[in-house]
């Protein structure tokens, strides 16, 4: 009974997930998201080559769609961060990005084949294929950046500084993902193996956030109970 009352009091006093993630965790997972985005993008041209060829327009389609998806993701992520920013939603971005990346591995042919049949010009074919394969997972990954800025910022004066740090880390992650994928991963693994790797890493990042959030909440609860009992 007492516990229930305490829980209600806490809920009224503050939002449920009020604990804030340590900065290092936010920064690390932002690195992971930047890395994964570019790993997925670099493999895009290779996935589409059997249907749309290896011409420069395939790269053009791919990059266009990634930029559009990211821009939409930034917008939505920023908007979501204004309403009760919390680690659980943050973790959800990683988990859903991982889930929506799975069709790139499992349904690539099923998605590209009808597009190939319907559209004769490989430029527009690759553009539509990129939209169907990459738009959703990439925009979800785009939501991570603005949302992580919000999670790290506690005051207005710091917001620019935090945003700078975050973009620094996630863009370094992107550089790393580009280099590692194009120089090394493609030497060592099949395309789908690399993609499964990216899915696994995103899932791990999401789980890590949830786990740390769980630990922090438990600690917060434990340290608050004695205070009420005094």
């Amino acid at each position: 009974m007492v516990l229930l009352r305490l829980a209600i009091i806490r809920r009224l006093a503050k939002p449920v997930n009020s604990v804030s993630l340590p900065k290092i965790v936010v920064i690390s997972v932002a690195f992971v998201s930047g890395f994964s985005i570019m790993t997925i993008e670099m493999l895009g041209a290779r996935i589409m080559a059997p249907y749309f060829g290896g011409s420069i327009s395939v790269w053009g389609s791919l990059i266009t769609v990634f930029m559009l998806a990211l821009s939409v993701g930034y917008l939505i992520g920023g908007r979501l961060s204004t309403r009760n920013p919390n680690p659980k939603t943050f973790a959800l971005f990683f988990i859903s990005a991982a889930i929506f990346s799975i069709p790139i591995i499992v349904f690539a042919d099923a998605i590209m084949r009808p597009i190939f049949l319907a559209i004769e010009d490989p430029r527009y074919g690759s553009l539509f294929a990129s939209i169907f394969l990459y738009f959703i997972p990439t925009s979800i990954l785009g939501m991570i950046s603005p949302y992580s800025v919000r999670l790290m910022v506690d005051s207005h004066e710091h917001s620019g500084h935090m945003a700078g740090q975050l973009f620094f880390v996630s863009t370094i992650g992107s550089a790393g993902g580009t280099l590692a994928t194009s120089f090394y991963f493609v030497l060592w693994f099949d395309v789908n193996q690399i993609l499964w790797g990216a899915v696994a890493v995103l899932l791990l990042a999401g789980s890590l956030i949830l786990f740390i959030n769980f630990l922090l909440q438990k600690n917060a609860a434990a340290s608050k109970v004695p205070a009420y009992e005094k």
Binding site: R46, P50, G53, G54, F116, L187
Partner: protein, 302 residues
């Protein structure tokens, strides 16, 4: 002292003469330079020989040469080697050539088989323009160029149910054959567009670091094939068909019948039957190339 001087002078003289001998008698002149989306294209003329060179700064070799005074004669061994496919199908009616280059190969086939329909696929519009402007290539009602990626062209032809009875794969990108044109899936798509009696001629490098993998991949899709190499060339032609390969006797008979008509192109067809080998000279344990596992995966072998 005097002796030493004389010796020195002698050395200088010999050196000078050697240097002079190494100078080409006629200077090579670059008559056209162009940067396309895919490569640097240079057209260089030395005397009456005009050559198309891709990526000259990386020291690439000539793609195509023609003698402007004797346009019929084919200059490179590998271009001539493509005619070995005729030993298996002597009268092609529908020909597909992937990779235009200077267009000498399609021109020769069009000249030899004026009634055959020839489709050429070339990914780079600039190459088409240069072939027309500098290498006497012309399209006509029986010979057309599609500016497209060979993989896309072949896949679509397969869906439309088009068939060819003579296919030459001669598409080279920046370093080598683009990786999506080396895979098992691509060769299966090529197989789809071959008539029952069709012959496939694929130009590859015998020094390629993918040699073993390429061989294993072709073998997986087509079974036994003729491995055609000449000492005068760094190229290896893979020649195969859907039916079992013909016996050497029939190749020789066909060579004797066809050789006179190929004389004007400088194709020594009579020498070819004995060079068509089915001996396995590659490592059969290598992995087949697929869209998932393409040559980029193999750079680690270096």
């Amino acid at each position: 002292m005097k002796n030493k001087l004389r010796r020195l002078l002698g050395c200088a003289l010999i050196g000078g003469v050697t240097a002079l001998l190494q100078l080409p008698l006629i200077a090579a002149e670059t008559i056209h330079e162009e940067k396309s989306l895919y490569r640097d294209i240079n057209v260089v003329q030395t005397g009456s020989r005009r050559c198309l060179i891709f990526n000259v700064h990386r020291g690439d070799r000539n793609q195509t040469c023609v003698d402007v005074n004797n346009r019929d004669e084919l200059i490179f061994s590998y271009t001539k080697m493509s005619f070995a496919g005729l030993l298996m199908n002597p009268e092609p009616k529908k020909i597909l050539i992937a990779g235009l280059g200077g267009g000498t190969l399609p021109l020769a086939f069009n000249d030899l088989f004026p009634d055959a329909q020839i489709d050429v696929v070339e990914v780079d519009q600039a190459v088409v323009n240069v072939a027309k402007q500098f290498f006497f290539f012309e399209e006509n009602e029986n010979m057309m160029v599609a500016v497209n990626d060979a993989r896309v062209f072949v896949k679509r032809a397969g869906i439309l149910g088009e068939k060819y009875d003579f296919i030459i794969l001669d598409a080279f990108g920046g370093d080598y054959i683009p990786e999506h044109l080396l895979t098992q899936e691509f060769l299966e798509e090529v197989k789809q567009i071959m008539t029952e009696d069709a012959v496939l001629v694929a130009n590859t490098f015998s020094t390629s670091r993918f040699y073993d993998h390429e061989s294993v991949t072709y073998q997986r899709v087509f079974g036994e094939f003729f491995n055609f190499k000449l000492p005068s060339s760094g190229n290896r032609m893979i020649i195969t068909q859907l039916n079992p390969l013909p016996p050497r006797g029939s190749l020789i008979t066909r060579a004797q019948a066809l050789a006179p008509s190929l004389e004007k192109y400088g194709v020594p067809l009579l020498e070819y039957p004995n060079r068509l080998s089915t001996r396995v000279d590659w490592d059969m344990s290598r992995r087949v190339l697929t869209d998932q596992y393409a040559p980029a995966n193999l750079l680690q072998d270096d």
